[in-house]
């Protein structure tokens, strides 16, 4: 009797362990697939970089014009060559701050426009990922990159736009959750003289905000994947589905998301170390540093594709 029971327990444990390992492997497989897919789509990486470059170059021209107009003929301009110079920065802010405000307004408008363009691009990314996932076997589907990307981008823009509006609901809900958690933390750290508690509260607050922020983005990702994967026009339904999907596969979706984030952090660290080594006091090195920066921006585009492809793969497997 005892031996049979032990055997049963052992078998159950073995099954649980096997199941857990299998689930983990699936997540890792999705992660690997995403990375691989990103490597196989250099054109898409270039498109993402190019759009980013075009938007950002507006800021380059504005800022360069501003500097020429304000400190271009002054010897203080060279103070910026060694690094960020607060002395000159304070002077600029005090005397030419209005010009900087205009650049900030322009940056805000550009960011806003870029957000909508990025929604457009999302459709392209997922369409290409879907086409490649299906091996381009769907009847009548053009598997070449450009048609797949731009047709998909155009096709899903309206639906993704609606999804963005629906995601405002999530922001609202998470705003309330954050508020309640914050109230709880305040109550726990009541008594103004308890400084360590106040200190940890700030940290906890930051972590909660980041966690909720990534969670909402993840839900948005899966909603878009559902729309593209099933060519669904039920946008709100896809939105609700994505919420259910994420919470049902909470840890696995989270692990996958954070694996990509960690990959991004590693890429950033590599970039940071390399760019720290480049002295930027001559034209050649300034251009070299800028080129290294562009490689980093390319890597961010690559990472974005990897994230979408990995999540698509995971969604496909769970579907």
């Amino acid at each position: 009797m005892r031996a049979g029971y032990d055997a049963q327990v052992s078998e159950t444990a073995h099954c649980d362990f096997y199941g857990l390992r299998e689930k983990t492997m699936k997540v890792l497989r999705s992660y690997g697939n995403g990375i691989k897919r990103a490597f196989l789509e250099p054109k898409m990486v270039v498109v993402l970089w190019l759009v980013n470059f075009v938007f950002a170059s507006v800021i380059y021209f504005l800022f360069s014009g501003y500097l020429s107009d304000t400190i271009g003929n002054s010897l203080v301009a060279s103070n910026f060559l060694k690094g960020f110079d607060f002395k000159t920065f304070f002077e600029l802010m005090a005397h030419e701050g209005a010009g900087l405000h205009w650049i900030l307004y322009a940056a805000f408008i550009l960011s806003f426009l870029f957000y909508w363009v990025s929604i457009f691009l999302h459709g392209g990314i997922l369409s290409v990922v879907k086409t490649r996932a299906q091996g381009g076997m769907t009847e009548g589907q053009d598997t070449r990159f450009a048609p797949a990307f731009f047709q998909g981008a155009g096709k899903f823009f309206g639906r993704f736009f609606r999804l963005s509006v629906y995601s405002l609901l999530l922001w609202l809900v998470f705003g309330i959750v954050y508020f309640l958690l914050n109230l709880l933390m305040k109550a726990l750290t009541a008594g103004g003289t308890n400084e360590p508690a106040i200190y940890y509260r700030y940290w906890a607050r930051g972590i909660i905000i980041l966690f909720l922020y990534f969670l909402i983005r993840m839900i948005g990702d899966y909603a878009r994947i559902k729309v593209v994967a099933e060519d669904s026009k039920a946008v709100f339904g896809s939105f609700l589905f994505a919420i259910r999907f994420v919470f049902r596969n909470f840890f696995r979706t989270l692990i996958l998301y954070y694996l990509i984030l960690i990959t991004g952090l590693i890429l950033f660290s590599v970039y940071w170390f390399i760019q720290k080594m480049v002295p930027t006091q001559s034209l050649l090195f300034i251009l070299l540093a800028f080129l290294i920066g562009q490689v980093f921006i390319l890597s961010r585009g690559w990472l974005q594709i990897a994230l979408q492809a990995a999540q698509y793969h995971f969604f496909d497997y769970k579907r």
Binding site: F53, S57, T70, L283, I286, A289
Partner: protein, 646 residues
């Protein structure tokens, strides 16, 4: 006869000894017994004041500061000037602060309680009761003293600003009826204002403070006694001569740390007493180090610290309204436990407030009327000390690539601000609290840094030392500082001080233009003869350029200028200009063209509000703006990648 001569000699010797021992003329002598009643958030006290009429006229009334009445209602002068920090919700009765003079009488004599009257010499605000006048039955004759006995009850405010309480922390400052200064034949006893509060005569203070025995007490002066009472309280007695105020604090959450401080040159021997709140114990080493730096810097640069103790009080986070304040031999600093080491706010506040022991504590100007003499001079001294101990380019912030100096922060505020007031003005007469702070602290400090650059560090050091030496334990005015500066430097500095202390205008010089034009050969009719340029010679002729540099004065204030002019072949010419006209032009005929011109090449004129226009080049640096613009573009690209991930 011999005996009589010896007796006279002995008396004179003792008198001389006595006079030598006292650092200041003792106009006041306070003996106070105070009891802290934590449940009532109040202090009840009995005060015996002996006051010397040091003037040459009889005095028929006394005037007292009743500072705590500034917290009595929302219409006091202090509150209406900006000191009204709301209590959050509706104030409760225990939130208000006040001082109730229960009884006042001449010692062993006439009761003066009915002779008390509130007056408002500054603004006639009837809701303000921060100055009290008491008519005397008989005038106090010149060089006579009068002894007054006062019973009072001081309720501390919850809205802690300088004085007040939070939870079990009590900051007991400006808490007792304090006599004004009789000066120039009249009382100088201003109401309690939002911006300033200090002016009093030197003298002797002996204060007994009774508190529940678990409370840790810090106070002005030397502790002379500590007695356990039968009712669970403890009485501390502190004594100090040559001071003009007395402050104390009590809180059971203080940790008291004591460490002796000894300096050989100049000789200083004192005890550092740190009362660190339990939540800030990790800051104790930072406080201690900066206090040591402060004592060393001020002793070596101005004069030896003369008192036997210096007490640093570290208030809890919710009572930071009491932080950053100075009192004789005691000051409050400000810090929070998690402040990074590279952000040197605790160090800066500690050095600044300790420094007030010199500029306010010993050199005791009238802060109501000329606050720059303590706040401005002390801010200047603080910048110098911070530079010395923490690095000139990073004295305030040293966090990775972010490095900012104390001087830079001060200058940044000066150049970014409106110019509504001069530095010298009565503290309540400024356009706003911000304008007061800007002028009295930052602009005054930057003015003195500019003066130092003009006179040279050594001369400026001598000026400061002489000013301290001459005016310690006295009440100097702005003109006294100017007199010392002129005497020590041997220069007429009236033009400097008249402009920078008494005018709100700005100093701004600029390079107006640079021009290099080739000088043509003579062509036309000269003395009746026609001259034409020779074509053959023109090729061989060395080109001559007319190089012109125009310097303009854009601001109203005048300051002598130095101009560094650089030519394309690297030749440099240094010019001087008195800066009085609106513009001037420097012209040079040379075989090379101009490259650049720069005003104030050594960056001496920190008061010049715009350093961008101080230089001009004919060949702009293209690389630096390119680098900045590419950096900015890359930053924006990174931002866009975050947006695109959404």
């Amino acid at each position: 006869m011999k005996k009589l001569a010896l007796l006279v000699f002995a008396c004179l010797f003792l008198l001389n000894l006595f006079c030598a021992a006292a650092l200041s003329k003792h106009i006041v002598d306070y003996r106070i017994k105070a009891k802290l009643v934590p449940a009532e958030k109040a202090v009840s006290g009995e005060e015996v004041l002996t006051w010397l009429n040091d003037s040459d006229v009889p005095v028929s009334e006394l005037q007292f500061h009743l500072y705590l009445n500034a917290f009595k209602n929302n219409r006091t002068t202090f509150k209406s000037e900006g000191g009204d920090r709301s209590f959050g919700s509706a104030p409760k009765s225990e939130d208000w602060g006040y001082i109730d003079v229960k009884k006042i009488r001449i010692k062993d004599g006439i009761d003066l309680t009915l002779m008390m009257e509130f007056i408002q010499p500054d603004d006639h605000n009837r809701d303000d009761q921060t100055v009290m006048r008491v008519l005397l039955p008989e005038p106090v004759q010149p060089q006579e003293t009068i002894t007054i006995e006062i019973e009072f009850y001081s309720k501390l405010p919850a809205d802690i600003r300088r004085a007040g309480y939070y939870d079990n922390f009590f900051m007991v400052t400006q808490w007792f009826p304090k006599i004004g200064v009789f000066q120039g034949g009249e009382w100088n006893c201003h109401q309690y204002h939002s911006n300033s509060e200090f002016f009093a005569d030197f003298g002797v203070y002996e204060v007994q403070m009774t508190v529940p025995s678990e409370y840790v007490v810090g106070a002005t002066g030397l502790r002379r006694g500590e007695v356990e009472n039968a009712d669970g309280t403890k009485t501390y007695t502190h004594y100090q001569e040559d001071i003009h105020d007395f402050a104390w604090t009590a809180c059971p959450d203080f940790t008291e740390l004591r460490e002796p401080y000894v300096l050989s040159d100049p000789p200083v021997k004192t005890e550092m007493i740190l009362l660190v709140h339990r939540t800030h114990l990790n800051l104790k080493d930072r406080y201690l180090e900066s206090l040591k730096n402060g004592i060393e810097f001020y002793s070596q640069n101005y004069g030896a610290y003369p008192y036997e103790t210096i007490t640093l009080v570290d208030p809890p986070i919710k009572a930071l309204g009491a932080g950053g304040m100075e009192y004789p031999t005691l000051f409050t600093t400000a810090g929070v436990s998690f402040i990074p080491k590279g952000f040197r706010m605790p160090e800066m506040v500690t050095i600044h407030e300790f420094g007030h022991g010199y500029w306010y504590g010993m050199v005791a100007n009238n802060e109501f009327e000329e606050a720059w003499l303590d706040e401005g001079i002390n801010s200047y001294s603080e910048i110098k000390a911070m530079d010395k101990y923490y690095g000139e380019d990073r004295s305030i912030i040293d966090l990775g690539p972010l490095k900012i100096s104390d001087a830079l922060i001060n200058r940044a505020q000066v150049i970014a601000s409106g110019r509504m007031d001069p530095i010298v003005r009565k503290s309540w007469g400024f356009y706003s609290g911000g304008s007061y702070g800007l002028n009295v602290y930052q602009k005054a400090a930057v003015t003195l840094l500019t003066l130092e650059n003009y006179l040279g560090s050594d001369v400026m050091g001598d000026v400061m030392k002489a000013f301290f030496d001459r005016w310690k334990f006295r009440h100097p005015k702005t003109d006294d500082f100017i007199d010392v500066a002129e005497e020590v430097s041997g220069q007429d500095l009236g033009w400097f001080f008249d402009q920078f202390l008494r005018s709100p205008d700005k100093l701004d010089y600029a390079i107006g233009s640079l021009r290099s034009r080739e000088v043509k050969e003579p062509e036309g009719i000269f003395q009746g003869q026609l001259k034409t340029p020779s074509k053959d010679k023109a090729k061989d002729r060395e080109k001559i350029y007319k190089n012109e540099v125009v310097v303009v004065r854009k601001g109203e204030l005048v300051f002598p200028q130095e101009v560094l002019i650089v030519f394309e072949n690297g030749e440099k010419i240094r010019e001087e200009w008195d800066g009085k006209d609106r513009w001037t032009r420097f012209t040079y005929y040379k075989p090379v063209e101009l490259k650049s011109a720069q005003l104030d090449p050594e960056y001496k004129l920190l008061l010049d509000v715009n350093h961008i226009n101080n230089s001009l080049t004919r060949k702009p640096d293209k690389i630096s703006p390119l680098k900045c613009a590419l950096d900015m573009m890359l930053k924006f690209q990174k931002l866009l990648t975050v947006i695109s991930m959404d």
